[in-house]
């Protein structure tokens, strides 16, 4: 090979590959236009083929030259309107451009390639007027296709098979040809004039002699070598961007000079401003440099029209592909590595997702399937969605298949939500295709996709509805180089957790640790909004000594707490050895103080980082949470490659290194994988279920104080948010207290405005608990400490009952008054509820009667009050059985049944079931009240006939729904 100048060759390769990328899409566009030829487009393709030919000739790449030459010939015919671009012709051209692509990528061996299979049909098309030349090609092709197919089964499906289709259709191919028939001569002349040197020998020679024998070996052999000859890659950057980089670099140099000057002159005042300047320039420079690496995702998307076209014709499906968001830019490395996973997903959609036209018509869909590829920005990430309107994924089928394959146990499957079941497809060794096709589904599919994307820091999510289609969305970071991370500390060292993996941060105060952390076997779990979350101690996974900070307030005396806080403040970052010594000292103190409380769980608050990697979520217990920072990932040395728990390292502001945690591998190291069917996962899941059930009749309350001595509580679900304010933020206008809040005024109230309690404490730091009542927001002034707890409420609604206070209960040994926020607001702002009065019973004589079934006196009275306030009649039953008797007794009088779920004798489900079984009450509305609306409960309720679910004490929603049903019945 006589290639001397590497640079020129490199340039040729890049340019040609660019041309080829365009050619493909342009050819498809030409095909779509059919006889209606867009001259510009054809010209463009023609020119592309031409410049490849020219370059190849110059480089001595004769085979590339020959192939591009015959392509050019055919394109010339199309350009001059002598040839109508039928799909068959385009097919041949596409295959030829594929081959060109392969050859250019493997440029050093390109002269060894056999291009006969392309030359023959191309020349046949070119000589389309001569029936004797097109006939032999038609007969030859089948055998060619067969040999090719057997040789290149796996990777070149798209190349070999459509050829077979052409062979079959070759008979029809000549029919568009008659047009060019009359004047074939001037055409070559035209081509020749543009490129006279190489024309003569090529078209004539190879055409008549098809050589099918060498084909099986030659095209596949160089293909393998192609991979290793991958040449250095380069990237095109816009000159304006380079210019701005240059300017920034200049500025940086200037600032450096300034900095050196200020340092040598000891000018501290200027140093600060120079520092700021450098800071600014650095971030601008960073941004600009990042931009040079950004490439539009269109580079990857661009090839899919072809993929979809080839595949769908092979599978006898008709599919439209819509591409949205070609311009979305991603880092070059990401663009390069999402190619394969995306191809797989698109193929999957076409092969498994979209049904055959007949099936589609049968279920009432348009016979033409639709695949949408979409890229967009969301929350600092790029989301790529591949959706199809095909048959969708059936979670049940997937679960069953997973069970049959032994990937999960039936018990686990039972506990899975529909979404989890759909996500089973990502399990290793899972293939849903009924039969393995060569298009996709070799049993290694989706899990490979997932692994690839995991490596990129991406997340896969599948949403699917049976019969409606599937949407697979992939979230990718914009760049891999710089990522936002949460910094945490454990064992005296800092670690970074990528923000993409971060779900939330959770802090469990020391006094709740006992209640909220459960032990299942040797596994720890925490209850988080009704779900149980498995916990991992980072220190345990990394096998380092457990440490913890005692910042907890209640159990220790103030002096001790301060000492520890001081010490920590001064000595971070601590050397590990010092840390250990300190820890030992700390332990000693602790042992002295509270022998029985040395168990960490009882003595200190827990900091939990809730992380997820898409398919699984767990809590990581760490010593301390720090800031979130943007970090630059640096790889770890080879000696540390065996440490799977880290994704790399980064340098922090103080120059020390922090390790970046790999959330997925940590879970594997801790033997905690929700998807791999480990015993422990199912054990936890089962235990979780039971615990949640046991917790059912609990109420989540927010406790706070108004004066120092009195503790209050409100149901947590009524609270919108809590704000910290200063007393000076409060303005008193027109006899009312307000504060500025989100661009408006927030009315402020205090418990003592209505109830006879001690006045709000006279401190500067206040809390405002924001409620949304009757579509208005109102803030309740309070002071700390505030806390969210979950308790079985046994409310005493007699002793302390007064306006604004619904009753009292004992929380942590302290009598706590439960606030009735509706009542308080009603007293202070009666006008707010005036609109609501419309709801009220517009009774002409007969007042609707509501049957309430509830075992707790407190809740029953509350609900009863809501109802009677609105003018309804109420009949109460203490449990399901009594309610049932009452219902039979009063029968027709009762308009609506409102029932609790957890009741003795007969629970809400049974009651509903019994009611529904009786034909008299088949249509009576049933509203269920619950403290914790678990998904499975809602489903169960719906199954037995509950019309609606409401959370206890959510007065507005309950009443709205009662009104709604009353109106319906009347």
């Amino acid at each position: 090979m006589q290639i001397e100048d590497d640079e020129i060759l490199q340039g040729f390769i890049e340019e040609s590959l660019e041309h080829l990328a365009d050619i493909e899409n342009d050819l498809l566009a030409i095909e779509e236009n059919g006889a209606d030829i867009d001259e510009d487009l054809v010209n463009k393709v023609f020119r592309a083929a031409h410049s490849i030919k020219g370059g190849a000739g110059f480089m001595g790449l004769t085979v590339i030259q020959d192939l591009s030459h015959v392509m050019e010939n055919v394109l010339g015919l199309i350009r001059s309107g002598k040839l109508v671009p039928t799909p068959e012709i385009i097919n041949v051209l596409l295959q030829a451009s594929d081959k060109l692509n392969t050859m250019i990528e493997d440029v050093n061996n390109s002269n060894e390639y056999d291009i006969e299979e392309h030359l023959v049909p191309l020349n046949a098309i070119y000589d389309g007027d001569l029936p004797q030349t097109s006939a032999p090609t038609a007969t030859e092709k089948p055998e060619e296709a067969e040999t090719a197919e057997t040789a290149e089964t796996a990777e070149t499906v798209s190349m070999s098979t459509p050829e077979a289709i052409i062979a079959e259709e070759a008979v029809s191919a000549p029919d568009p040809d008659p047009t060019p028939e009359p004047e074939p001569e001037p055409e070559p002349g035209l081509v020749q004039s543009t490129e006279p040197v190489v024309h003569a020998p090529t078209p004539a020679a190879p055409a008549p002699k098809p050589a099918p024998t060498p084909k099986p070996s030659s095209p596949s052999a160089p293909k393998k070598s192609a991979a290793k000859v991958k040449v250095d890659t380069s990237i095109r950057v816009h000159v304006s961007l380079l210019d701005s980089l240059m300017t920034l670099a200049g500025e940086l140099v200037l600032s450096r000079n300034q900095l050196l000057q200020t340092i040598s002159s000891g000018d501290t005042i200027n140093a600060e401003s120079v520092g700021q300047r450098i800071d600014l320039i650095t971030s601008e420079l960073q941004e600009a440099i990042m931009l040079t690496r950004m490439q539009p995702i269109g580079n990857v998307f661009g090839k899919f029209p072809r993929v979809v076209r080839d595949l769908s014709s092979k599978l006898n499906k008709t599919i439209d592909l819509t591409i949205v968001g070609k311009d979305v830019e991603l880092d070059k490395t990401i663009i390069e590595s999402i190619n394969d996973p995306l191809t797989h997903l698109v193929r999957n959609s076409v092969d498994h997702g979209i049904e055959l036209p007949e099936e589609r018509t049968k279920v009432g869909k348009s016979p033409k399937g639709l695949v949408i590829l979409k890229a967009y920005h969301a929350a600092g990430q790029v989301v790529i969605e591949i959706s199809d309107d095909g048959k969708g994924l059936d979670g049940e089928v997937l679960a069953e298949a997973a069970i049959n394959k032994g990937l999960i146990t039936p018990e686990q499957a039972q506990l899975m939500s529909e979404k989890e079941k759909v996500n089973l497809i990502l399990l290793p060794g899972f293939s849903t295709a009924k039969e393995v096709t060569d298009v996709s589904g070799r049993g290694v599919g989706m899990d490979v996709v997932k692994t690839n994307l995991d490596q990129l820091g991406g997340q896969v999510d599948i949403i699917s509805e049976v019969g409606q289609g599937t949407t697979i969305s992939i979230k990718l970071p914009l760049t891999l180089a710089i990522i936002p991370c949460q910094i945490i500390m454990t064992g005296g060292e800092r670690y970074a957790i990528p923000q993409v993996n971060l779900e939330e941060l959770l802090r469990i105060p020391a006094n709740q640790v006992k209640n909220r952390i459960e032990r299942v076997g040797n596994a720890e779990v925490v209850r988080l909004r009704g779900n149980l979350l498995p916990l991992i101690r980072l220190a345990d996974v990394l096998n380092i000594e457990r440490t913890y900070y005692d910042l907890s307030d209640e159990e220790f005396k103030a002096d001790r707490r301060e000492r520890i806080a001081d010490r920590r403040g001064k000595e971070t970052p601590l050397d590990t050895r010092e840390e250990k010594a300190l820890q030992a000292e700390k332990d000693a103190i602790e042992a002295e103080r509270k022998l029985d409380d040395r168990r960490h769980t009882a003595s200190s608050a827990l900091n939990i980082v809730v992380v997820s990697n898409g398919s699984m979520k767990y809590g990581l217990i760490v010593d301390k949470l720090q800031d979130s920072e943007e970090i630059v990932i640096k790889p770890l040395g080879k000696h540390l490659q065996g440490c799977k728990g880290y994704a790399g390292a980064t340098i922090m502001g103080d120059g020390r290194i922090a390790l970046i945690l790999d959330v997925t591998n940590l879970a594997i190291m801790a033997d905690l994988t929700s998807m791999d069917g480990s015993d422990r996962a199912s054990e936890i899941a089962l235990a979780a279920e039971e615990l949640v059930k046991a917790q059912k009749d609990k109420q989540a309350l927010l406790t706070f104080r108004s004066s120092e001595k009195e503790q209050f509580a409100v149901p947590l679900n009524q609270v919108e948010r809590i704000e910290k304010i200063k007393r000076s933020d409060i303005e008193e206008l027109g006899g009312k207290r307000v504060m500025q809040y989100r661009g408006g005024s927030l009315s402020l109230i205090a418990v003592d405005d209505v109830a006879m309690v001690q006045p709000i404490a006279d401190t500067d730091d206040l809390l405002v608990i924001v409620f949304n009542i009757a579509n208005q927001i109102v803030g309740l002034l309070a002071i700390g400490p505030i806390d969210a707890i979950e308790i079985s409420v046994s409310v005493d609604d007699v002793t302390l009952k007064q306006p604004g206070i619904m009753g009292s209960t004992i929380i942590d040994g302290q009598t706590t008054m439960l606030i009735d926020i509706y009542e308080i607001v009603d007293v202070l702002f009666p006008e707010w509820f005036e609109d609501k009065e419309v709801f009220e019973v517009e009774d002409e004589g007969k007042v609707p009667t509501i049957l309430i079934a509830e075992d707790s006196n407190f809740f029953r009275n509350q609900v009863k009050n809501y109802m009677t306030e609105s003018g309804y009649d109420v009949i109460e039953g203490e449990d399901g059985a009594i309610a049932w008797e009452l219902l039979q007794e009063h029968g027709d009088d009762i308009t609506i049944v409102v029932t609790d779920i957890e009741m003795p004798n007969m629970d809400g489900f049974e009651l509903t079931e019994t009611i529904r079984k009786d034909s008299r009450f088949a249509t009576i509305p049933i509203i269920a009240l619950t403290t914790l609306a678990g998904e499975e409960d809602v489903a169960k309720g719906k199954a037995v006939g509950v019309d609606e679910y409401h959370i206890k004490l959510d007065k507005e929603k309950l009443m709205a729904s009662v009104h709604h049903y009353v109106k319906q019945v009347h």
């Binding site: 064992g491 060292e493 990394l542 096998n543 380092i544 050397d575 590990t576 640096k634 790889p635 770890l636 040395g637 080879k638 000696h639 540390l640 490659q641 065996g642 440490c643 728990g645 880290y646 390292a649 340098i651 120059g655 020390r656 290194i657 922090a658 390790l659």
Partner: protein, 153 residues
């Protein structure tokens, strides 16, 4: 940094010598990028025991290896001001922690002798030979071998 090809021609090398435990070892000075004092290190839980940690050398993350431990000569005492020899191995910078840096010795490669047979075992495999000066014996360290990864299970 790594133009050690030139020196081979002349048969003359400069050996940087240092103490690993109590053993005097040496390596071609041209393989050394720099020698540092011990700087603040970050421990890496779960790393092989001879890896002391990772450190930040002007923005590069460097794995620091306790040479003494790697050679099976016990742990280097960190409180006696040990030094980090930064070497470049296969494109990666690695720090080798040694007890003390000693002289630079000019040596003729022809005079290198094979390691004595009683220097077998774990230490022996890391030495290419010994060099005898008037009063000392220097073990010539094969850095690449030291840094080669053991097969992991």
């Amino acid at each position: 940094m790594e133009n050690n090809d030139d020196t081979v021609n002349k048969n003359l090398v400069e050996l940087s010598t240092f103490l690993v435990g109590d053993a005097l070892c040496g390596m071609d000075i041209l393989k050394i990028q720099e020698i540092n004092k011990l700087i603040d290190m970050t421990t890496v839980p779960q790393a092989p025991s001879y890896v002391l940690g990772i450190l930040n050398l002007r923005g590069q993350i460097i794995t620091s290896i306790d040479l003494s431990k790697k050679l099976g000569l016990g742990e280097t005492n960190l409180s006696h001001d040990p030094r980090n020899i930064i070497v470049n191995s296969k494109g990666e910078h690695i720090g080798l922690l040694v007890k003390k840096i000693s002289d630079v010795v000019q040596a003729n490669t022809d005079k290198f002798e094979p390691p004595p047979s009683n220097m077998g075992g774990i230490q022996g495999e890391f030495f290419t030979g010994v060099y005898k000066t008037e009063d000392k014996l220097i073990g010539i360290l094969d850095v690449e071998k030291v840094l080669r990864l053991e097969e992991r299970n």
